[in-house]
Amino acid sequence: MDTSTPTRWITLAGLLPVVVSGSLFVWFAQMIPVIAAGDTLRFVWAWVPSLGVNVSFYIDGLSLTFALLITGIGALVMLYSARYLAGHVHQARFSLFLTSFMLAMIGVVIADNLLALFVFWELTTITSYLLIGFSHDTLKARRSALQALMVTGTGGLALLAGIILIGTTAGTFEMSEINAMPGVLTESVMYLPILLLVLSGAFTKSAQMPFHFWLPNAMAAPTPVSAYLHSATMVKAGIYLMARTHPSLSGTDVWLWTLTIAGAVTMVFASVMALRQTDLKLALAYTTLMALGALTLLLANDSGYTITAAATFLIVHSLYKAALFLVVGILDAQTGTREANKLFGMARAMPITAAAAAIAALSMAGFPPFLGFIGKELKYAGAIAVASEPIFVAGAVLIASALMVAIAGIVSFRPFWSKSGDPIAGVKEAPWPMLVGPVVLAVLGAFFGVFPDVLATTLVNPTVASILGDAQPAKELKLWAGVNLPLFLSIATFVLGFAIYAYKLPLRAALIDITTRAPSFDNGWDSLMAGVANGSKWLTRTIQTGVLKQYMFVTFGTAFVVLAVTLVMRTTGVPSIAWPALEIWDWLVFFLVLSGAALTAVTNSRITAIAGLGVVGIGMAMIFIFYSAPDVAITQLLVETLVVVLFAAAALKLPALAPEPFKGRIFDAILALGLGVVTTVILLKVTKGPIDRELTTFFENASWTEAFGQNIVNVILVDFRALDTFGEIAVVLIAGISIFALLKSKPEEDKP
């Protein structure tokens, strides 16, 4: 994407999303005073009243913080994309996907009804799939999109199961009501399944170990998408879910340890992996993983420090990470590369980008007076206050934060200020629509660092209040908290971080060496997918043999087993058979049918078999005639005739039957006899009971008076139940067309 040549970028497709998200941002922003005062807003519409499903929206501090991040960063990212993708052949499609994603994401964070939340949740998965696979002509994009869809989609299904369990346990799907009932879930016997299912949804969405591997691959998406979905918003949906369910699911050992371990492992693993990357965008992707791990780790607890730290870090991270992603996008667009080894000293050519990158990176590294510093201090304070293992948690935070310092240097110091290599010549500053985003986001990080109270009173404290139920435990956000343990840990972080930065090249080489030897999750994913495909193939081959005889055997066998078992379990005694006085023609038909069936069973010729079956059918038709059902008899006769004719035509092509007639057919004969006997017994039993003649009487009376017809069968077909008949003839037509298509289509050549 070359932005150096002037392109018409003021287009409807580019700017409409900016207007939409900007307006929504203003709409949410005007709610700040209400929410900051401690109130909440709720909107309810009946959706499926019979099931008690409402579309209800609930806005409290947590929802509002997320909604403002989504719409605010959304507006900036969309302005950026309007220029970044200007003139792209699919720009309108991109805008549609991105806007749809934004609306779905807003739905996730403000839905109160869990089922509505699930629907929005899945919509973000689908839009994310479309956005990752936006460059659908590359194999990598398609694979990454599918991988993200499979991982998060599977988690989504687990979440749905968890939501249904929550609904049946708590008696309501409204999250605000569930959170108002302390212990309703934690003291339930279903608590463990609920927790595991909900966390499966959250961990896959927020890419916690061992579901993390899709997120770095998702960087196949255009850079604005990575900035927006895969760092600032969508991947935080899992974090949102954990925060939202925190009041009703947290406080147990399972919650504490699951989140602590998953969070800590993800955090440390991701920051080490980030150091290994030479692609700046991938390095940022791994630091996003680190941030998600840190947030999970913090949400494991319920002390004021940890939750305040989580709320603050959530905002800090979204600001600096979106800014840095956009900066990398600018570097990529202006220089044509995002390899750390090729970019040096670009600050002279791109001063504004360099400044934005520097401010955002200082916030990321946690230097004062930026918001990142406050976030980091709070993280340390929170780590010391955790209920699990303060030393273990604080140690993990220390390692991750030190690596953050080093990576902040790699991502934004080295490409702009380092003199280790020559700057790429002829590079110009990015156009202003692309600069607005990073500059505004970076400056906000600095502004909130200097005036933390603004953020604390408007967003952080209400968020803490929605997680902990009360704003009292929220800790004050301040730059200078005195000489205390977090400060010493901060100093240790910087020292360690600088050391890592100084030795980054040998460290990276060592890491690349280790990671290429270690088994990779990504390869594991491929083997898993291949395994699923092979398993499906095997299953299909096993149960779909393509041999009609086997299908018929299974179908009739199943019918036999089901009928026989029901018969034995539900009834007692052998039905007494009262032989009625049979006339001579009854006996004739009886033997006709019997001999037809016998002939079919023993013959070796297909034509003879089908003729034998025709005899059986004609015998049946005669029985219908004896019992005065001429319409049925006529139909039966005609159908029998046609079947014989049709089959005779087909039989010319079929090979002769296998020469050994009886050996292979013994099981068929047993099955046929068994099914026949069972059906006969059931019929005998059924006809023993009184016959309800209500319908018969109705049709006898109404047929002439209401429908002016004396042939009841036909009157029922074309008048009383005309809709059924219409459905049936539609089926006849569809069957006709399908068989026609099957016969006319050329058999597909076997593909290699």
Partner: protein, 139 residues
């Protein structure tokens, strides 16, 4: 099949069967018969003709593609059902017109029910023939 007797017989038979099928369909409301049976009889006629003279001749004699006949039949049946709505009745309610009705006789009864049955007739005829012709051509 090259049999002069069969060809000559089939030519005669297809006419008789077609007339008979129309008769069976029309009498269906008061006596055994109806659109389904009528359609089957007509189809039998053409199937016999196709066996005797070949499917290409049978297709020519039919003039229309059997699948189209079936589709038109389904459309006619649907129309006959939908018309009831214009009289304010539920879908598929029969609408009757008695031409020349007197105290004693109902005159000539015309109805949407008959139109519906004609639709059934055409669907059955068309569907069976598209299967048969395709099958015979495939063999």
């Amino acid at each position: 099949m090259n049999s002069i007797i069969l060809v000559a017989g089939a030519r005669l038979q297809v006419v008789l069967l077609l007339v008979f099928s129309a008769y069976m369909m029309l009498r269906g409301h008061n006596a055994p018969g109806g659109g389904f049976i009528g359609g089957l009889i007509a189809a039998t006629g053409f199937v016999v003709y196709a066996i005797a003279c070949g499917t290409s001749d049978a297709r020519k004699a039919l003039r229309f593609d059997p699948a189209n006949i079936a589709g038109v039949g389904l459309g006619i049946a649907l129309l006959a059902g939908v018309i009831a709505v214009f009289w304010g009745d539920a879908l598929f309610t029969g609408q009757w017109l008695f031409i020349g009705a007197t105290e004693d006789s109902k005159g000539i009864p015309l109805s949407t029910v008959l139109v519906f049955d004609i639709g059934v007739y055409l669907v059955v005829l068309g569907a069976i023939l598209s299967i048969t012709f395709a099958l015979e051509e495939a063999v």
